[in-house]
């Protein structure tokens, strides 16, 4: 090619290096290998593709490395390619390290050719040499260097082999004064390429930003990005674009082959030729191990069996065993709560200091979420194993037909699994993992339906309601709930993709089935920790922030003054009674002043709580010992003794503590009833009455928007009772609800609403990040709310009208939706136009060859 990159004569001390290559060629691994830990993840301006940059020092040179998004080529069709291309054109890196997968050279070379045509100083990092060796591939590296005209460095990213050589090659390449012009011959199109290239070379504005040869080829290929680039740089030179189109058409007329087909064929031929000459395949003609495995795993009849087995193993290990683990980790969280409680200012008799109340509220909110960490670690590790081993791609292969029928994509499998297809997951990583779905319509449909899955946080509310209303049919209801969400997600995905998503860009399901390989321990660990960390960050930021807001909404405007005074007076009476009954008691001196009394009541409450939590006689005795040590004066009020005066003291304190609890509960309840959130909940009653939600349920559902976990916590507060009675929330809710005339039917309507409820705040934020649109974020909130309310209202009203029981109505709803699902699945056969045809509907250009 005729022109070269602008060169600096002085030795460069700062280098900008880009890592380019296909997805999974090992760019990120090499990036980590080269930079160590000094890296930084940002977004490319205006898009959601991660930009990872880092740096290192080699002798006197400061090298900045940017990990470009994985791309097969540099067309303008996909976002990743546009981002990579824009970076290369705008930032003009000093060296481009082209990462190639040594086990599949031919396909990797397409990109190498394009980089060379663009005129960049390229260093080829031939990665995965270990895999290549295992596949029986033998490289003639010097011949490869010679044929490509660039340095080729063999590396094994995973083991760090070749790190020094690669660093040296980068520096050496950057210091070379001249870029060796490299090109490939386009045979019968060569004349046309040369002509366009010549006219482009005449415009300095164009040559300055891109190689003329590359642009010429792109124009002949009909690349829109290239055409636009010329229109922008030289609006007066658009004739060259038209000329290229004419030449391409002329070529097609003569050769009966489109110019772009010819160009890719030339690239592929050359790549194939280089591969055959430089690589010896010692296992040629043999069936690869992966294929031999797939003969079983993808066997028509065995495949579904293996799939079900895999899903079962994941469920068993992560959810069932994970819950076991939380029993070990929970005490740590409880310990942390007590620790923080001790640091905070002590509780008052009736009203606690604001810092304490709010602090504990936040700790409790965070703890509920952190409790799931062990489950997520296991779940995400197992999913990483599925991904790294290559089986995840096979799951997509098996399920694509079903998912596609409902407007989704084979690659929607991973988001759904992460979000909790089989009870337990989190929509946040679920929505995040939709990144890889190439089909925009299916991707959005996935993003909008992933939150329907049963995330771990939905489970406590289900459990609560089931334990109240469906004690005998627990298993059945749980089964209904876990499958109904999948049915709903599929139906909604279909609905959306034929309505609001109708006009969106689609892409085919064309994907490589990677060779199986054994996942590495660190790889799995890292991915699992990374994804869990995202979840923890959610707890740390969004959830805590919203917990604070909900707290404020629940606490304010607070009690009217007269009521406050009334409670204070009641408290004074109780305290006076206490002192009276202790009159003459030798222990009375301990609590002579008010502060001491408050401390005593607090110590008593904490003593009772710890005694209750202590498991076994020994632990219980240890609690006694601790309190005896720490509060010797108060101890006679805590532990029953033979001492007559001590018994009297205990009795008096118990009465006082009970009165205090009752008063506090009444105040809390009144505060919530009159709180902002309570008012909102009440205000919504006219709308929610058809689903039979009263204001308490409304408040719980509203607060669950912060994080689903909150729903149960809020209900816990709303249905609070004297702690002395120690009734479970199930009992409390059951009693109050039954008094109010609520039934299992209402439980069904709540659970259905909860299943269809909009994503929690953290998820909607992730929806915003992934769709890059506030509109879709709002849609993801509004649509499910309307849907959920409609379904719940219909189910409740119909059930009430037909006097169905909760179970009957649940069964009826389930089979209705299942029927609808089957109808949609099979009716597709008669009008599958929109479903099967990519680029449809209404796209008449699918087959046209220009």
């Amino acid at each position: 090619m005729s022109e070269t990159m602008p060169e600096e004569t002085a030795e460069k001390t700062r280098l900008l290096v880009a890592l380019a290559g296909q997805q999974n060629a090992g760019k990120s691994t090499l990036f980590n290998m080269l930079t160590g830990v000094k890296q930084h993840i940002a977004n490319y301006p205006g898009v959601t593709v991660d930009k990872k940059s880092g740096s290192y020092r080699e002798d006197k040179t400061f090298v900045e490395i940017v990990d470009l998004p994985g791309t097969y080529s540099l067309t303008s069709f996909s976002l990743e390619e546009r981002v990579a291309r824009k970076f290369l054109l705008d930032e003009r890196p000093d060296v481009v390290v082209n990462v190639l997968d040594a086990s599949n050279l031919r396909r990797g070379l397409y990109m190498t050719f394009q980089l060379l045509e663009m005129g960049y100083p390229v260093v080829v990092a031939l990665n995965m040499m270990d895999v290549a060796a295992r596949h029986g591939l033998d490289y003639d590296l010097s011949l490869l260097e010679q044929r490509l005209g660039v340095p080729v460095v063999p590396v094994v990213g995973r083991k760090g082999t070749g790190r020094e050589a690669l660093r040296k090659a980068i520096i050496a390449r950057a210091q070379e004064q001249e870029t060796v012009p490299a090109t490939l011959n386009y045979g019968k199109l060569e004349e046309a390429v040369a002509e366009i290239q010549a006219s482009l070379s005449a415009c300095p504005e164009i040559v300055e930003i891109a190689s003329a040869r590359w642009l010429a080829v792109k124009l002949l290929e009909g690349d829109e990005g290239a055409e636009e680039l010329i229109r922008k740089q030289r609006p007066d030179q658009t004739a060259v674009v038209t000329r290229a189109q004419d030449l391409a058409q002329a070529f097609e007329a003569i050769e009966d082959l489109t110019a772009s087909d010819h160009i890719v064929t030339c690239r592929d031929h050359l790549a194939g030729d280089i591969e055959t000459t430089c690589v010896t395949d010692h296992k040629k003609g043999k069936t690869p191990l992966s294929e031999r495995i797939d003969r079983f795993l993808l066997n028509r009849w065995l495949a579904p069996l293996f799939l079900v087995l895999t899903v079962w193993v994941i469920y068993e290990l992560s959810i069932v065993q994970g819950y076991e683990l939380t029993k070990i980790t929970w005490p740590a969280l409880a310990w942390a709560r007590n620790f923080i409680a001790d640091l905070l200012p002590q509780a008052g008799f009736l009203n606690d200091p604001q810092v304490r109340a709010m602090g504990l509220w936040m700790v409790d909110s965070a703890n509920t979420l952190l409790n799931y960490v062990p489950i997520f670690l296991i779940l995400f590790a197992l999913i990483a194993i599925l991904e790294d081993s290559g089986y995840m791609a096979r799951i997509a292969f098996i399920l694509d037909r079903i998912l596609h029928r409902f407007g989704l994509h084979g690659q929607s499998t991973l988001p759904f699994i992460l979000a909790g297809v089989f009870a337990g997951g989190c929509a946040v990583p679920g929505v995040m993992s939709t990144k890889g779905i190439p089909d925009q319509r299916a991707r959005l449909a996935t993003i909008l339906t992933v939150p329907f899955m049963n995330c771990l946080a939905k489970v406590p509310l289900y459990t609560l309601l089931i334990n109240i209303y469906f004690v005998e049919t627990k298993g059945l209801i749980l089964f209904y709930l876990s499958t109904i969400t999948v049915i709903a997600a599929l139906l909604v995905a279909k609905l959306l993709s034929v309505s609001v998503l109708r006009g969106m860009e689609t892409a085919p399901f064309v994907m490589e089935l990677p060779h199986y390989h054994t996942p590495t321990f660190e790889g799995v660990l890292r991915r699992s920790v990374d994804r869990t960390w995202i979840y923890i960050k959610k707890v740390g930021t969004v959830v805590v922030a919203v917990a604070a807001v909900v707290y404020v909404l629940l606490q304010y405007p607070g009690l009217p003054e007269e009521h406050e005074a009334y409670y204070q007076q009641q408290a004074e009476v109780a305290i006076a009674d206490f002192h009276k009954s202790l009159d003459g008691n030798k222990y009375a001196a301990v609590v002579a002043d008010y502060d001491a009394l408050v401390s005593l009541v607090n110590v008593y409450t904490s003593y009772k709580a710890r005694k209750l939590n202590a498991q076994g006689k020994e632990a219980s005795l240890a609690v006694d010992e601790r309190f005896k040590d720490r509060y010797p004066d108060f101890y006679p009020f805590l532990k029953r003794s033979r001492d007559k005066e001590g018994r009297a003291a205990i009795r008096a304190l118990k009465t006082l503590a009970t009165t205090r609890k009752t008063l506090r509960r009444e105040m809390k309840e009144e505060r919530i009833v009159t709180s902002f959130l309570g008012q909102i909940g009440r205000g919504l009653e006219p709308v929610t009455q058809f689903a039979n939600f009263d204001w308490k349920i409304n408040v719980a559902l509203l607060s669950s928007f912060a994080a689903r976990e909150s729903s149960v916590a809020t209900l816990g507060v709303l249905f609070e009772q004297d702690e002395g009675e120690n009734k479970t929330l199930e009992e409390r809710m059951g009693n109050q609800q039954k008094e109010a005339g609520y039934t299992a039917l209402m439980a069904v309507s709540i659970m259905l609403f909860f299943a269809l409820y909009p994503p929690c705040l953290a998820t909607t934020i992730m929806v915003r990040v992934q769709t890059h649109s506030y509109l879709w974020m709002s849609f993801s909130i509004v649509f499910p709310t309307i849907l959920g309310l409609t379904v719940s209202s219909l189910v409740y009203s119909l059930g009430a009208a037909l006097s169905f029981t909760g179970l009957e109505m649940m069964t009826a709803t389930y089979f209705f939706l299942l029927g609808l699902l089957l109808l949609v699945a099979f009716s597709g056969r008669f009008f599958r136009g929109g479903a099967l045809r990519p680029g449809s509907p209404g796209s008449g250009t699918v087959h046209s060859v220009s």
Partner: protein
């Protein structure tokens, strides 16, 4: 590095007019497995039986879809072996060299192939 490529590209004979006629027929009956005989406009990858090889002749698609197929090695002139179809009959799995690619029948039906 200057490579001289073989002169003839793949997919030489068919005329443009001829093709568009096929297009119409094809759309009309798309999604069905096309049999080799009968009114089939061209033999597509969708018609290839398991464990049979063929050579890609032309891609009857454009834009992003075409690019995606090309990126994964479904390039005119390349030999492809049909491996299997998924348990629910769609998508398909094919082998190109040492890589295994999966694609839906809808796309396969737009890839014109010849016997090797």
């Amino acid at each position: 590095m200057v490579e001289t490529l073989p002169d003839q590209g793949p997919g030489e004979q068919q005329g443009g007019q001829h093709r568009s006629q096929h297009r119409g027929q094809h759309r009309h009956r798309h999604g069905q497995s096309e049999t080799a005989q009968g009114a089939a406009p061209f033999q597509s990858l969708n018609d290839i039986a398991n464990n049979t090889s063929c050579r890609i002749r032309r891609l009857h698609t454009k834009g992003a879809i075409r690019q995606r197929l090309l990126d994964l090695g479904l390039v005119p002139g390349v030999a492809v072996t049909m491996i299997r179809c998924a348990p629910l009959a769609d998508p398909l799995e094919v082998r190109i060299g040492d890589s295994f690619i999966t694609l839906r029948r809808a796309e396969a039906a737009q890839i014109e192939v010849t016997d090797v």
